[in-house]
Every structure is written in structure tokens, then in C-alpha cells.
Amino acid sequence: MRLFDTIAQAVARLGGFFGRTERESRLTDEMRFHVDMQTEALVRAGTDRREARRQALVAFGGRERWRDAARDEYRGQFFDRLGQDVRYGARSLLHARVFTAASVATLALGIGATTAIFSVVDAVLLRPLPYADPNGLVMLWEHHMSNAGSAHNVTGPANFLDWRDEARSFSAMAAFVTSRVTIVAAGGDPVSEQSRYASAALLPMLGIKPVLGRLYTEAEDRAGAARVAVLDYGLWQRRFGSRRDIVGSTVQINGNDVTIVGVLPKGFAFFEPSALWMPMRFSDADRTAQGRYLRVVARLKPGVSWQQADLEMKAIARRRAVDVPELDANWTALASPMRDDLVGNSRTPLLVLLGAVGFLLLIACTNVANLMLARAGDRRREMAVRVALGAAPRRIVHQMLTESVMLAVAGAALGVAGAWAGTRVLSRMVPPELDAAAVSGIGIDARVLVFVICVALVTGIAFGLAPALQSANHDPKDAMSEGGRSGGAGSRRAGRLRAALVVVEIALAVVLLAGAGLMVRSLADLRRVPLGFDADHVLTAGVALHGHAYDSATAAIGFFERAEQRLAALPGVRAVGAISWLPLSGLRSASSFTVVGQPVPPLGQEPVGDFRAITPGYFAAMGIPIEEGRGLEATDRRGAGEVVVVSHTLARTFWPNGSPVGHELKYEWDDWHVARIVGVAGDVHHDGPRTEPYMEMYLPLEQFPYTGMTFVVRSSGNPLALAAPLRAALRDLDPTQAVADVKPMTDLVHASVGDTRLDTVLFASFGVIGLVLAMIGIYGLGAYTVQQRRHEFGIRMALGAQRGTVLSMAIRRGLVLAALGLAVGVAGALSLTHLMGALLFGVKPNDPVTFVWVAIALAAIAALSAWVPARRATRLDPVAALRSD
């Protein structure tokens, strides 16, 4: 007895919560009291005490059974019932293996896809930026009133220095620019690393503390100050072996000796990754400097909103436009929350995808609800027996909901596993700026798991409620007396509900399919856009010259010339050229220009075009056609007459009918230049197929010296086979120069439609999964109907009905539901697809071709799904059908 008590109390304690402990001890106490009393009574009647005790215990009966029964009756504790329901549910679900597998798989698809997309949405749009008080951070930009340039245009040092002195909305302001530099550590090879020049105020503004040494100071952020730099944690590990004595040591950066003063913390990133941070070192000359290349970040003073800051920036810009019209006429300035600039254009696609995946989850829920209704039909007798035995309807609902939540939880577990794998693919959806900035990136973390748990519970209840209520409403008398034969009021109600669910499912699938169709067509159209060059067989490689050896323009030009000669001599090379800003690289340099002899537009309203320095071989190497005149030639040297080749768009803009060859353009680049147009080159989509070609001016490198060029090498075979010989040839020419970004041009082309491709793949998968689930729904309902009416079909066939008649009777319902679902779905899709506008290319959101195809595909699939079970009806053996039940 003592042992028993000990165990009972241990169990009670393990049970964990007070109510349970109290109840268990009451059960034990009462039981002990009862047995004691019984023993006493037997002893009084003359039995030996030990024997009396034995008899008393025996009389008490099986202890565990008693306790189970007593527990059930006692208070009906929620968790006890839950435990019971879970046990019962697990048994029942394991029993119905096919149903369980189908439901869990469906839910895993829905929940997994939702989780994967949510994890991206969370990382991009919801999680706070990993900086001190991120809501107070704003970016400051300029914008040209002509709307020709970027909505968020970079600014120049003159404006930045003026803003920093004048603006009252901010407690701190910093400028930064990212640039590739060449680093030479003592005894090491030169390496090219993307680095950052930034005001001393920037890192403290973000709340960043160095893990080693210190950050650079305001005093070091001045022209003439000693050169210093801080290292990114990654570079410190990669290139300097995490040596702590790196602080205080000197490295060569672009040919200058620079002292390393500190190391930044692990995981810190801000916009693009940067290996090295150095001060801007602005001088007084920068107060009047031309050119725009700076991004500006500022911290709002407490109590100032970004909108107020934005108004102040616009006011400052109006004053600047009057004070320095040569720089700021027709320019305005603006402030925007930093997250907007980090998220960029990803917000809309992400939200659209989240909506789409939500639809998929709904379809999955509908489908499982349908399966459960079908199963509830099979379980009518089981439920009826439980009701007859006194189970309250509430208890039945509870039981059914427990089962559906169990299914959802199992589906969620499986789905999260899938989502975890999926996020690797989806990490591409995070804009690179944000990917670097978000410390942990996307993935399944606690936030996402909480989301999944909520989704699992809500979906479990969502798809379980209707079937559960349905089951609880069974009239036991009905179910028992019906026997196996169906057609009672209850099952007719369930049938209607199932039909409604199938309509909903089809409608949702239509919306997804329409979205998928529009994306597929957009991608196809994007791929069809001729980019203006031939990327096949082309290898690219960048070299940014550094070091005092190339201080003179002649030396730099000489290097590229000799390099081209060496590359051209490599076996398998057909053509070689070089360009300052490669198409699809995301780099461009634009400035205003005027046409000599045409009316000069007012200051600030001059046309804006892109400038690119090229070597004479570039057009041939890239496969860009010369439409008029000639390309650039080796004779277009320094000192010879300045020449330019313009793009088709520029030519047609200013000479809609005539030829531009022989006319002159005036542009400012350090100085004023006048260049004679010698030819017209075909248009190139420099920023990808979604962006219209810019007005381009190709200038000979000789007359427009630039030190950072990308080689374009056309080979006769696989361009990657040239990578190693190319590196070797360039190293041979000058071992102190680093070669970066050696890759086939086709990679850039592929990447330029990468976002659309990923969106398309996701949408198409959602659409296909939705369609398959809808198919299962139609099929299931059809099979169920045939099963229900097999008696009737048997009679009809026995009476001589034609197979065709029976087939059409059996199929009709499925087709009617499909038509209804299609109608609802098309209406829904028409009202929703306009939200996808930003993702589409070349097609309208209500593109009739897409919608017709979706309708045809769905009708065909629906007919097939309805036909398969209906055919079974015609194969019924009338005798067997009549005899069954």
C-alpha cells in the first residue's frame, strides 16, 4: 500500500499542476480510507487482520481501472480530456492510414510553403534592422525634377556638406560610398576587395562598437590627416588570420600606407558587404565639387518624424537650387526611412507571394476538411454509438477538433522540415543590401516557429470545425437505423457542404493558376527581349588599376592596350574589347549633355545620357551592331579629334529622321568636351530587359581615360575554359594588379531575370499544387457520390438504363461544381491579379489569353477528375450493387 501511495503521489507530482495533484491525493486518500474501513469491519467480524486487508483490497477491485473511471468523472479536467482525445485520436488516425497520410501531406505542403514564404517576409519586412534604434535612421537622397533619373539619386560632397551644416532635423549625418580597392599586406599578393569610404559619424550612428581597437575619429576624417582604416570581421579572419596585433600595423591600400586602427564586430553589415572602412577625408575643395556619388544616412532628432525631415530637405534643396544653380537647378532632396531603401522593390512581390501562398494554405485546409467530411460519413456509426452511450455533442466536437489539430501539427512538423530546405532557395529573394544587413538572414527561427504553431492551430480548427459540427449533429437513431445505407438527412447535409468546399477549392486554384499563367507569360516575354548584344561565348573579367605606376592616363591606357593584345593572342579567342561599365553589372555613369547647333535647354533641364569608355574592339567582342557610320578605331587617339558613338535611342531622340553622323555633342566630364558623332550603335538594355535602353555615349578610352575596365573576351568554345589562361596572362603583365569577377556574360543575363524567374517558379508551383488538390477534391466527391448512389444506379441499370445515361448522371455534379468554381475563381482572379502589376512584364493583369488557358486547363482537369469515378458507376454490376448492404 505504501508503495502504491508513493507511486501515486509521484505520478501526481509529475502531473505538474495543482489541480491534478490535489485531485490525485484525494483519490488516494479516499481509497485508503475505504480499504481501511473495510478491513476494520472484517476484523470486527473475526477475520485475521492480514487476511482482512487482502480481502478488502480484492473487494476494491482493479485499482487502475477504478482510478481511470474515477478520473474520467472527476471534474472533467480539460487536459485530461485532451490527453484522452489525443490518445483516441492517435489510434483512430493510425487506423485510417491513407486518410492520415493524404491529410498530413496536403497540410505539410500548405503549411510548409506558407512557412517558407513567411520566413522571407519576416526577414525582409518585419524583423527590426540590426542597428541601434533603427526607426530613427533615414536616408537622404536627391531627385532630378525631370524624373529621368533615379527616384533616389545619390548626392555629391558639396550638397552633403551643406546639408550637414544646415539641416536641423538630424542629430547626426554621414555620407558613404562603396568602392573596390586593392590591398597589399606585408609580403602578400595584392587582393581586390569591395570597401567603404564613410564619414566618421556613420559607425557610431549605427551603434557599432569595435571588437578590437577603435573606430576612426572626426579628426581623422579630414583631408591631410594620417590615413587609417578599420577592418571588417570577415576580412580580419580571412586575410589576417584573426591576428590581434593587426591593430596598429600598416597595409598598402591603393598604393598608400594606411594604419589599421580597429576591427568591426562579427556579423555587422551595412548595405553591400565591405571589407574595409575608411574616412571620407573631405577637403574645402569638396564644398564646390561637381558630380554625385554619395549615399547619405542620418539619425532623426528625438521627436522629429521622417516626414518632417523630408520637408526640411526639400526646403534646403529649393534654397540650394537658387544659390548654386550650376549644381542644383531642377534638383530636389528627400528623406526616406532606411528600411525602404534596403527593401527596395521586394516589398510588392513578397506580399503578393504571401497572399498566393495563403490561398494555397486555404486550398489545403479545404481539401482536408473535405477528406474529413468523407471520413465523418464513414464514422457515423462510431459517433452515433458514442452519442448513444452518453457522450455530449460538445465532447464529440472536442474529439474531432483534437484530431484535426493533430493532423495540422503533424503537417506543420513535416512542412517546417520542407520549409527549412526551401529557405535556402528563397534566400535569393532577399535583396542583397538587406541580406547583408540582417544579421541572421532568413531561416526558421523562433519567430517563424511561433507563426507556424499559430498557423497549425488555426488551420486545424479551420478545417476541422465544419466536419466536427457535422458529426456532433448526427441523430444516433438515424445513423444506427440507416445501417450502412446512406442518403439520410445528415449525409445529404454533409454532401452539400462538401460540394461547397469543392467550389471554394476550385475557385482558389483558378486564382493561383491565373497568377502563375501571368508570371509564366511575363518571364517568356522578358526572355524574348533582345538585350542588344550576344552573350554566348563571352567571358568577362574586371581590373581596377591601382598604384602610382598608373597615375598617368597614358600608363593606364597602355596597360589595357597591352592586356588586350595578350588576351587576343590566347588560343580560342575571337575578339577582345573592354568597357568601363559593363551591361547588366548595375553600374552606370550618367551626365547631362547638349547637341551642338540645337537650342540649348534651360539650366537643369538638359538631356541626361550614359557615358561609357570602351576600347575599339568592344562592339565586335560584344556583338553589338553598328547601324550607321563606324565604330571606334585605334586611330581615335588622345590628341586626335574627339569622337563618340551614340546609341540608337539617342540618335532617334535628336535626329528622328536624319543621321546624327557628323554632328557634335557637348558634355561635361571634369572639363567641357565637344565630340563628333562618328557612328550609331544598336541599343543595349544596360539595366536588364525591364528597363528601356538609355541614351548611350560610347567614348574611346584614349580620349576618356578610366582606370577600372572590364575585359570582354569572345571565345570560339566554352568561355570558362579561358578563365585560367586569362588570369595567367594578366598576372604575367603586372602581378601587382588583382583580377575580379571572372564570369561568363551569360551569368549576368541569367541573373537579370532571376527575380522574375524565382517568382514564376514559386507561382507556378503554387498553381500546380492548388490544381492537384482541387483535382483530388473533385475526384473524392465524385467517388463518394457514386458510392452513395450505387444502389440507385444499380436499379436504373437493372431497369435498362444506358451506360451513357448513368455516366452523365454521375459526372454532371462534378462538372456543375467545376463550372461554378471556375466562374467564382475567374471573378476573383480578375479582381486580384492587378495587385501583381509590378511583377508582370508585357502582359496586362487581365490578360485574356492567360485566362482562357486557365479556364480550358481547369475545365479539362475537372472533367477528368469527375469522369474517373463516374466511369466506375457504369461498370457496376447491377446485381452486386443491389445486394451490397
Binding site: L27, D29, R65, E73, Y74
Partner: protein, 113 residues
Amino acid sequence: MADDARNDLLQGTLDMLVLKTLQLGSMHGWGITELLQRGSEDVLQVGQGSLYPALYRLERQRFIKSSWQTTENKRRARYYALTARGRQRLADERANWARMSHAIEMILHLSST
């Protein structure tokens, strides 16, 4: 005979009998079994496996209430007492029972004259 009676004791009947015993005054579980057994001259032997679940059920339905008390032998025991609801319930069940047994009696007394 005794075994048969115990086995055939229907759920509702046990509830009624428990309520009846408690009408005589509050009592602990063992006391109820004793009373049922003695009161029925050993015909009714209620198994504890049925009694305690019945007690908890009745308590949950608020027909009876319970509290810890000390017996005359200074032992701690759980005493059950009838509530107003329980009293009403007992009256209903008695009426039902009377009707049922009367009906059954009538059938059993039908003669084939």
C-alpha cells in the same frame, strides 16, 4: 443472486440509490456501500469501481457536494452531502422509478385468461 443484482445495477439506478442514502444524512464512500449492502439485506453489493465514479459524476453535476471531515474514530474522510439540486433530482428519479416499476409490474401480471 447477489452477483446478478450487482451486475445489473444500471447506471441511473445507482445514482438514485446514492442520492437516497445521502438523503439520510452526509456520509463517506465506505458508509454508502455499507448502507446499500445492509439496507438491501446483502442483495446490493456496490463495487467501488462503480461507486466512486458515480460520486464524482454526481458531484460534477452538482447533485451532491463533498468536504473533508473527521470520523468518530478521528480519521479523516471525505463526506458527501445532498444539495438542493440533488434533492430535486432524487424526487424526479423516484417518480420515474415508480412509474417504470409500476409499468413493469403490470406487464408481468398480465394473465392469459
